[in-house]
């Protein structure tokens, strides 16, 4: 828990700074004068071109009024139809609602709120600061002369991308919907899948300046309270100016920042989040990013893809086996090659020894240098391919993979065997469904190679042991990272490396200690 103490200390230092920044409008209330109110707002919001203040006159009551909104964030259509038109035109026509000429300000406010405005979200607010916040969120503030509160009208219409197929987690079978950058849409995507009143979405606003909306989603009567409490506690500790992406939150709330393993799952798929929630996990949605965080995570989640569950059970099981094998190959592949070739040639079959020795004849580098060279090249290639536009990316892949590989072999810089090992390793690491997990394995692979280069097989064993020790010590929000394998939770093994038929997996994962564990009755 040291690292949290450290985090707290840091927070204390920034707290003071925070207070200073916030000076504008601490608990400043609206006055009853429209002009002064507008002046206040103008002061806070500045003279920016995207801020619209539209003054108008309510003829029936003979008062001045104004709406304040941000162009682009608020829906102009709605402001026009439901607010301005209603107040300025329809109010006059509806004789029945007109009271005496000398109606008080609060009467006017009530009438407008209850009878005139045809929007769903209408809220009263008397603090200037809150009003500003909501306006910045896309709401429209309606200010009326002689009224010392503002009406906040829900006209949010944030610019949003169309819902598209998730790019990073494409599946052959499964929903084609992916999250978008708009948290409101994302919320709806989840709600659409879990029509359960127990689904709770707790709202947080994180980021002193960005004021990013963050939602913590969980199902009240499934998810274990201690996990929820832990998440909230950690979220509340975050004090940063801006949250550009959920990754920032991930880094603030993860258990161990020195671990290469991802301690939160990121996903673009609403179906994955929904089933995660129903397993008893907590999801964190952040505005501005399609990546939703799912926690707690255990080692099994690193090898699971949504398709495992959509396909029939043995397909799912076999694919998982394959992934498990791929993970092992991609972790141990090159290091085993290095250890065997340069330390223990006695352990390789004789025919293979002869062909490896023959192919290595004339290669100027020791095996480890050769392996590192190739691995680093592959990493660079991968990086280059990711950043480039798609068509060019493919070209780079082909040029890099085929041409350089072929040329290096013919030039005698590397042995063909090494190319095979590196290629198999790279392909294996692509087959892992979790990007974070694949990265962790890639990092560890280099450590493994170096230890194999120094101590051979013993180095590999010791490094692998150090990894298992690290995993054993690691926890994700109070859940052992190694569960359900260790401590043994035999019930969960049905859905760990295996994926047994649904008729067998009747319970939610025991490791998450759900309040309600029956999944199938």
């Amino acid at each position: 828990m040291n690292r949290w103490a450290w985090l707290q200390k840091k927070k204390k230092q920034t707290k003071n700074g925070h207070q200073q920044v916030k000076t504008h409008g601490t608990d400043v209330f609206f006055s009853s004068s429209l002009d002064s109110n507008l002046e206040q707002l103008q002061n806070i919001l500045g003279n920016n071109p995207d801020i619209a203040i539209r003054r108008f006159y309510i003829n029936v009551y003979k008062v001045n009024a104004a709406v304040v909104f941000i162009k682009g964030l608020a829906d102009k259509e709605q402001i026009h139809e439901q607010i301005l038109k209603s107040i300025m035109l329809e109010l006059q026509m509806r004789e029945c609602y007109v009271k005496e000429d000398r109606a008080t300000g609060s009467d006017i406010k009530e009438i407008i709120k209850d009878h005139v405005i045809t929007l769903t979200d209408v809220e009263e607010n008397n603090k200037i600061e809150d009003c500003v916040m909501e306006v910045l969120n896309g709401d429209t503030a309606l200010l009326i002369d002689n009224v010392d509160t503002s009406l906040l009208l829900g006209t949010k219409k944030w610019p949003s991308r169309q819902i598209e197929e998730p790019i990073t987690e494409a599946t052959v079978r499964g929903a084609r919907e992916g999250f978008v950058e708009n948290i409101l849409v994302n919320m709806s995507l989840i709600r659409k899948r879990i029509r359960d009143p127990h689904l709770v979405l707790d709202k947080y606003t994180i980021g002193r300046r960005s004021q990013t909306p963050v939602m913590v989603a969980y199902i009240k009567d499934i998810t274990n309270d201690s996990i929820i409490q832990e998440v909230k506690k950690r979220l509340e500790k975050i004090d940063i100016d801006q949250i550009p992406e959920s990754g920032i939150i991930e880094q603030f709330i993860e258990d161990d920042f020195l671990s290469p393993f991802p301690q939160l799952l990121t996903t673009e798929r609403p179906d994955k989040v929904a089933s995660g929630l129903l397993e008893g996990r907590v999801a964190i949605l952040v505005d501005g990013t399609p990546f939703v965080l799912l926690l707690p995570v255990t080692i099994t989640s690193m090898l699971q893809g949504p398709e495992d569950y959509y396909e029939r059970w043995f397909v799912g099981t076999l694919i998982r086996f394959m992934r498990f094998g791929a993970a092992i190959v991609s972790l141990f592949g090159p290091s085993l090659y290095v250890a065997l070739v340069s330390y223990h040639p006695g352990l390789i079959p004789t025919d293979l020894v002869i062909s490896i020795a023959g192919s290595r004849e004339g290669v100027p580098f020791p095996t480890i240098v050769e392996a590192l060279l190739m691995e680093i090249t592959i990493e660079i290639l991968r990086e280059a391919g990711v950043r480039l536009p798609k068509p060019i990316g493919q070209t780079v892949g082909i040029v890099g993979g085929l041409v350089i590989g072929e040329a290096a072999v013919t030039a005698g810089l590397v042995s063909p065997m090494m190319v095979i090992v590196v290629a198999v390793t790279a392909i294996s690491s692509f087959s892992l469904p979790q990007y974070g997990a694949a990265i962790a394995i890639r990092i560890l692979r280099f450590g493994m190679m170096l230890s194999a280069a120094v101590l051979g097989l013993f180095g590999i064993i010791m490094f692998a042991m150090a990894i298992t020790i690290h995993l054993v010590k690691l926890k994700s929000f109070g859940v052992d990272y190694t569960s359900p394998f260790v401590p043994y939770q035999f019930n969960d093994w049905k859905d760990a490396i295996l994926r047994l038929p649904y008729s067998v997996i009747k319970e939610r994962p025991e490791m998450l200690k759900p309040k309600d564990s029956t999944r199938i009755k």
């Binding site: 690292r3 340069s342 330390y343 062909s355 020795a357 004849e361 280069a453 101590l455």
Partner: protein, 390 residues
């Protein structure tokens, strides 16, 4: 912050530890892959008997580049002959000649020449082989009629490396023939030696252009030297008694027509039963074998007829008896060694008697009477029963 510092410190410490690292690293292409070793006897004026070692290395470059090559073919192997008193010394001496010092992890075959096996104590000679951690217990041991260095330089047409070729011939024992004793690995060698019992070793000799593994050399447990050899028939007989003859052909002669009948062993089981009567030890060997009729030269043979089959079985049985008696006569009476596991049977079934006779077993063994019963069962005669219709 403390954790970061701590982990950086640990990383530094560990990397300092490894600065001078890679002690054992030797890349695969930089070592000489020894695949065969030959031991020869060398006449010398020195007091000690000096063996002469031949180490055979594979040249992977030639082997791996075979299909691409063409042009002047280099030999895919290299033989180095060193006259040193031990293999260990020879290996080190080899490092003065070749750039690649020998690595024995892939040693497959050990060939000892007859001369050497007869005159040098094998337990002492082979000590390095038993002790070195690189050499595996599965190395096959052969005794050669000619000089081992000669045998190791005869190239096969299909297997370009002599040692690897020898290796695959030795493995035929299990599937194709019983004219050689079972494969004797270095491990078995050591086991037999440690129990000081006698045993058979496959014997290799020149055959026209190539080599042939046939017959057996007999090593006596007490003296740890080779004392004699068995020809192919005697070897076959001993293999039947031990039950090792799992495959192979026996050719009997039909008494009436004096034509041959060939029988192929599919299954063979033997049991040695010991009987102790006071001081007398006697044995009954029961052999049951099943197989097929693979050839006969009898003009009017009729395999559809039960009688013919029974007769054929009898003829084959006779041949079996002949082979085994020949084997026993040679080993029990002439060489006076127990290579067929008679002592073993006594050890297991009559441990108390064994304890008494253990010390001078091979002196007692020639006196033991041995009865042999053979039962041949022809299970099938394959696709043709008759040669012609009557």
């Amino acid at each position: 912050m403390r954790r970061i510092k701590k982990s950086i410190m640990t990383c530094c410490c560990i990397s300092i530890l490894f600065m001078g690292g890679c002690w054992d690293r030797i890349d695969i292409e930089d070592m000489g892959l020894a695949c065969g070793v030959g031991v020869d006897y060398q006449e010398s004026s020195a007091k000690r008997l000096t063996p002469e070692f031949t180490i055979q290395f594979v040249v992977p470059k030639v082997l791996a580049g075979e299909n691409g090559g063409g042009g002047s073919q280099a030999e895919p192997f290299q033989n180095l002959t060193m006259d040193e008193s031990s293999l260990f010394e020879a290996g080190r001496e080899a490092s003065t000649v070749t750039s690649r010092s020998p690595n024995y992890a892939h040693l497959k075959v050990l060939v000892i020449s007859k001369e050497a096996a007869q005159s040098i104590n094998l337990l002492q000679l082979l000590n390095f082989f038993f002790r070195d951690h690189e050499i595996r217990r599965t190395v096959h041991v052969l005794i050669s009629e000619e000089k081992a260095s000669e045998i190791l330089s005869i190239k096969g047409t299909k297997d370009p490396v002599p040692a690897l070729k020898l290796l695959s011939i030795t493995e035929n024992m299990e599937k194709k023939t019983a004219k050689m004793p079972p494969i004797l690995s270095l491990g078995d060698f050591s086991e037999k030696m440690s129990a000081s019992s006698s045993f058979l070793v496959q014997k290799v000799q020149k055959f026209k252009e190539g080599v042939q593994i046939i017959g057996a050399a007999v090593i006596k447990g007490n003296t740890q030297k080779m004392i004699g050899e068995l020809n192919e028939d005697e070897t076959f007989g001993i293999n039947c008694i031990t039950g090792e003859a799992k495959a192979g052909a026996v050719t009997g002669v039909d008494k009436e027509t004096d034509k041959i009948i060939s029988y192929e062993i599919d299954r063979l089981k033997s049991s040695i039963k010991s009987k102790v009567n006071g001081e007398d030890i006697s044995y009954t060997v029961n052999i049951n074998t099943e197989g097929r009729l693979s050839e006969d030269w009898i003009p009017k043979s009729d395999a559809f007829n039960e009688k013919f089959i029974r007769n054929a079985e009898k003829q084959v049985e006779r041949e079996f008896m002949r082979l085994m008696e020949a084997g026993l006569a040679k080993t029990q009476k002439e060489l006076k060694v127990d290579v067929a596991g008679f002592g073993e049977s006594l050890r297991i079934n009559q441990p108390k008697v064994w304890k008494k006779v253990k010390k001078n077993w091979e002196e007692r063994f020639p006196e033991a009477s041995i009865d042999i019963n053979v039962k041949v069962k022809i299970r099938q005669f394959q696709t043709q029963g008759r040669k012609m219709n009557k």
